[in-house]
Structures are given as structure tokens and as C-alpha cells.
């Protein structure tokens, strides 16, 4: 049974806030849901499926959020696999709708990561109840450090340079300069990235995503119902998700979850790599982008450095990515997967103004959750307006 073209993202809303000390997390989520429903012309009364995850949300939080919103959905999913969760939620919503478990599903995220001063990337402290933590946390792993170790190995094996990684950050900032709600909009150069302080070698400050507040929501329904709504539907063509971890000590660290989730998404969508007009690639760090593009198969392993060079990733380049400015410059409220799907939908609708990719018909979103250098999830989604 294929999910291809059975369901569509019909509503998408990115909360414009980047710093909201005056709002609660749930308020940002509620405002995001209202925005996404207004976007497609549905109301909260139409919603019978709810999917969410959040850094500040503990066990059973989705039940509390239903109380907050006075919702009694027929389908609930609070899968939390890190920042990629909302890409996976989009797939799960489509599967649930296709199976008849609900008709109109909302995926939502909200966070006050910046105003609550979460040390997301460099707060390598305690550790939770995960049995793996006892073998890792005593040594002081940080999120940025776990990604830095992937970059270090990639540079060693393939000669990838700091300049090549820096170009990714420079391109994201160019895109942010065309996004009125992006947090950092002043242009930067490769030299600026290399001159910024090294947080965890070989990654500099400007190789790292920002920390912001923010939120967003998506409305997903059947392709049939999508036809009567306000905006052009973004049909779901293919999905995939999985994890990579230490693999009992036997892992090849440059092989990441995207290799498997991407293969699944392409197989299920029936489209080829050359058909992808733009991609939204989780950019927690510059190396995340390079490793993801290789593992999704847009270039061969080891060729990522050359692939991201020469302006290829610009909105007007051969392979545009992260046209909103990405987590590196626009927003990163802890978990960014939501915004990958929102911007992909906006591109497919032609709503992106100066940063619009020409003739955008098929878009890919790939979320990474957790840390590439220890354990992480990957979720891939392929969407079309055709």
C-alpha cells in the first residue's frame, strides 16, 4: 500500500517570533495552530488528529496540551525523536489519515528555548535514564562536540576544508537576508566564519545554529479534501525514518540515518534525485548539511565538500537548500524539523518572494534529531505541488 499522493499538507504557519519572554510554550503552539488553520480555511472544530513533541514536554504532555486547547482528538502521536520529530509526524499523520484513523491532523511545535536560556549545544551536563549515558556523560560530550567529531573524521578521510563548511553558513545567511523574520540577517563571509571562535574543533561559532524562540504548525488532510481548501496542496509523495547509533561499538560514523530514511523516501515516492527542485536540510551545524547531502545520495560519500561549494546551495543555484536561512541564521528553537516542512510547502506554493526557487515542483525535507556523533534519528519527506 503506497501513501504516495494520498494526503497533502494544506496549512502551514511559521510563528514570526524569535524571542518571546512574554509567551508560554503552549501559547506559541496555540497561535501557530490558529495560523495554520487560517492558512487553509479550516477551523479547530475540524481537527481530529494531533501530533506534537517538544523539549519542554514530558511524558503525557500531549494530554495536557489537549486540555489546554480543549481538544478530544481521535488520533494522538507524541513521538519524540529529537528535531526531526515533525518531519516524522507529517508522515505519521498521512499514514493515520490514509488508514482512516483521522481526517484532519495538526502537527505543532512551540518553544521558548532562547528566552528560557537553554544551553542546547554546549550544555553537556548530567544525562538522563538512558543506559548509554553512563558510558558517555562522564566524559563531557556536548551536542556540538558530537557533530564536530563527524566533521573531524570527514576532513581526515576526504580532505574536506573549513572553508567548504563555512560556505554553507554564508549561504544560509544570504537566504536569511531575504527573510524578514529571520533572526540574523546581516551578510557574513567565509572569513567571518573562520575568524569566529572555535567552540569544539573543527567547528566555529558560525558553523553552529542559533538559539531562538519560535513555533509552527502544519495541517494535513486527504488529497480529496485538500482540493476544496484555500491554498494549493503540497502532496506527500514519499516518507522514511530511522536511527543510527553506536551500533554496539561497530559503527561507521560517516554513514548516518539519512542514508536509510532517504532511500525509503525516494523508493516510496517514485521520483529521482534529479527531480528534486529544492531541499530543506536540517542545519544544526554546517557539517550536518554536508553529511546529510552525501547520505541522501545527492553526491557521493567524500564529495560533499565540493558539492556545497561554488554557490550550488543558493536559492538561485543548481541545488537550492534552506531558503528561509535555516537554523544557522533564521531560527532554531531547540527542534527545527517543523520549519523544514513549512518552508518546503511555501516554496511549492510560490510564496517565498525574493528567495523563491524558480519552477519549484518537488521539494525534499530531511530532519536530523539528536547528535550525529553519538545517536540520532533521521526523517525524510518528499512533497510535490503537482
Amino acid at each position: 500500500m503506497s501513501l504516495s499522493r494520498k494526503c497533502a499538507v494544506v496549512g502551514a504557519y511559521e510563528h514570526p517570533t524569535r524571542f518571546a519572554p512574554d509567551k508560554t510554550m503552549y501559547q506559541i503552539m496555540a497561535e501557530s495552530i490558529r495560523g495554520a488553520l487560517d492558512d487553509c480555511g479550516l477551523t479547530i472544530k475540524d481537527v481530529d488528529g494531533l501530533l506534537t513533541a517538544g523539549m519542554g514536554m514530558g511524558a503525557m504532555a500531549i494530554v495536557g496540551f489537549c486540555d489546554y486547547l480543549n481538544l478530544t482528538p481521535n488520533f494522538l502521536d507524541s513521538t519524540n525523536i529529537g528535531g526531526s520529530s515533525f518531519v516524522a509526524h507529517t508522515a505519521h499523520a498521512a499514514a493515520a489519515i490514509n488508514a482512516g484513523l483521522c481526517e484532519v491532523a495538526v502537527v505543532v511545535y512551540g518553544s521558548t528555548a532562547a528566552s528560557s536560556r537553554f544551553a542546547i549545544g554546549t550544555g553537556g551536563g548530567g544525562g538522563g535514564g538512558d543506559p548509554c549515558d553512563q558510558y558517555e556523560f562522564p566524559f563531557g560530550p556536548t551536542t556540538v562536540g558530537a557533530y564536530a567529531m563527524i566533521a573531524q573524521r570527514h576532513m581526515h578521510d576526504y580532505g574536506t576544508t573549513p572553508e567548504q563548511l563555512a560556505e554553507i553558513a554564508v549561504t544560509m545567511r544570504l537566504h536569511a537576508s531575504m527573510n524578514p523574520v529571520a533572526k540574523y540577517r546581516d551578510p557574513i563571509t567565509v572569513e567571518d566564519v573562520l575568524a569566529s571562535r572555535v567552540i569544539s574543533s573543527p567547528l566555529h561559532l558560525l558553523d553552529c545554529c542559533i538559539i531562538s524562540d519560535g513555533g509552527g504548525a502544519l495541517v494535513i488532510t486527504s488529497a480529496e479534501r485538500a482540493r476544496d481548501l484555500k491554498k494549493k496542496p503540497a502532496y506527500i509523495l514519499g516518507v522514511g525514518e530511522t536511527v543510527r547509533h553506536a551500533a554496539r561499538g561497530q559503527r561507521d560514523f560517516l554513514e548516518i540515518a539519512a542514508a536509510q530514511s532517504g532511500r525509503l523516501a525516494f523508493e516510496r515516492s517514485g521520483v529521482a534525485h534529479k527531480d528534486i527542485d529544492m531541499a530543506m536540510i536540517y542545519d544544526s551545524f554546517t557539517i550536518t548539511v554536508l553529511a546529510t547531502l552525501e547520505n541522501l545520495g545527492f553526491c557521493k560519500r567524500g564529495e560533499g565538500g565540493a558539492f556545497v561549494s561554488g554557490g550550488r546551495l543558493r536559492y538561485d543555484g543548481d541545488f537550492p537548500i534552506n531558503t528561509d536561512g535555516g537554523g544557522l541564521s533564521s531560527n532554531h528553537p531547540g527542534m527545527r524539523g517543523m520549519f523544514l516542512v513549512i518552508e518546503a510547502v511555501k516554496q511549492l506554493r510560490g510564496e517565498c518572494g525574493p528567495r523563491q526557487v524558480k519552477d519549484c515542483k518537488i521539494a525534499l525535507a530531511h530532519g536530523t534529531g539528536g547528535a550525529l556523533g553519538t545517536r540520532h534519528s533521521g526523517a525524510t519527506l518528499i512533497l510535490t505541488n503537482q
Binding site: G126, F139, T142, M149, R248, Q250
Partner: protein, 142 residues
């Protein structure tokens, strides 16, 4: 118990030792490094588990490591706000591949940050950080 604020107090996170990991941590206290081997399929594994992570057999053998290996990858950490680490910057995080073939997350010690390299031969050192806990770290092989 009131928190020990003396300069000697160990402030970094300590492992939450459980029933599956206790023999491994006890060996570390004896300054011995072990991995596990499945008696049925022969697969090697680290971290310690009750069941084989390849075939789910419960028949497990502990294999003592020589204690030598090579750096697979590393990072020099210059920023970590967490207590304990904030005071010991910069420090080296690494995945070390031990000679038995498995990779372990660890710290490289007794090595200036500017000299650490991928492929560098290293040897285990046993850091008795508290009376109950010994951490297995690595230093450049001598």
C-alpha cells in the same frame, strides 16, 4: 547530604551504574577494560548488555582488552557550560577504536590539544575519580 564545595570535590557527572553494567564498572575499578562476546554467534559488543545485540543470545563471555587502540575521531571542546567541565576547558573528547575492533567514547588525557590526531596510537588509563567510580580514558601510547 550537603554538597561538598571544597576544591577537591568531583563535580562532573558520574555514571548511573545498573545491573547490566555493574561488572564492567567493577572491572574498571580493578583497572581492567572489558568488552563482551556472544558465545553463540561470536559478535563483539560494547556497551555491556544482557542479550547479544546481534542474535539476542544470553550466553555472554567477557573479553579483556589489551588496553591499546587508535583515535578514530576527536574534538577539542572549548565550551561546555556544565559544572565540572567549565573548569577543565579545553578538553579532548574522542572515539577510540580499541585493538579488539570496537569504538568507545572517551577523553584523551596527557596530550596537548594541538598534538591530538586521528590515527594516533593510544593506551588506556584508569582515572579513579571517586572511591566508587573509575573512568577509562586514553593517553598517547608510550
Amino acid at each position: 547530604m550537603p554538597q561538598d564545595k571544597s576544591p577537591k570535590a568531583y563535580r562532573k557527572p558520574l555514571p548511573h551504574i545498573d545491573e547490566e553494567s555493574r561488572p564492567w564498572w567493577e572491572a574498571a575499578q580493578r583497572h581492567e577494560l572489558y568488552i563482551q562476546k556472544c558465545r553463540d554467534c561470536g559478535d563483539l559488543r560494547f556497551h555491556p548488555r544482557a542479550l547479544c545485540t546481534s542474535c539476542m543470545s544470553a550466553r555472554t563471555e567477557w573479553v579483556r582488552c589489551k588496553g591499546t587502540g587508535k583515535i578514530y575521531t576527536f574534538t577539542v571542546t572549548n565550551q561546555n557550560q556544565a559544572g565540572g567541565f567549565r573548569d577543565s576547558l579545553p578538553y579532548i573528547m574522542a572515539w577510540v577504536e580499541v585493538d579488539e575492533g570496537l569504538k568507545m567514547l572517551t577523553n584523551i588525557v596527557d596530550c596537548p590539544p594541538e598534538q591530538v590526531k586521528i590515527g594516533m596510537p593510544v593506551e588506556a588509563v584508569f582515572d579513579d575519580v571517586t572511591p566508587e567510580v573509575t573512568l577509562v580514558k586514553f593517553r598517547p601510547a608510550r
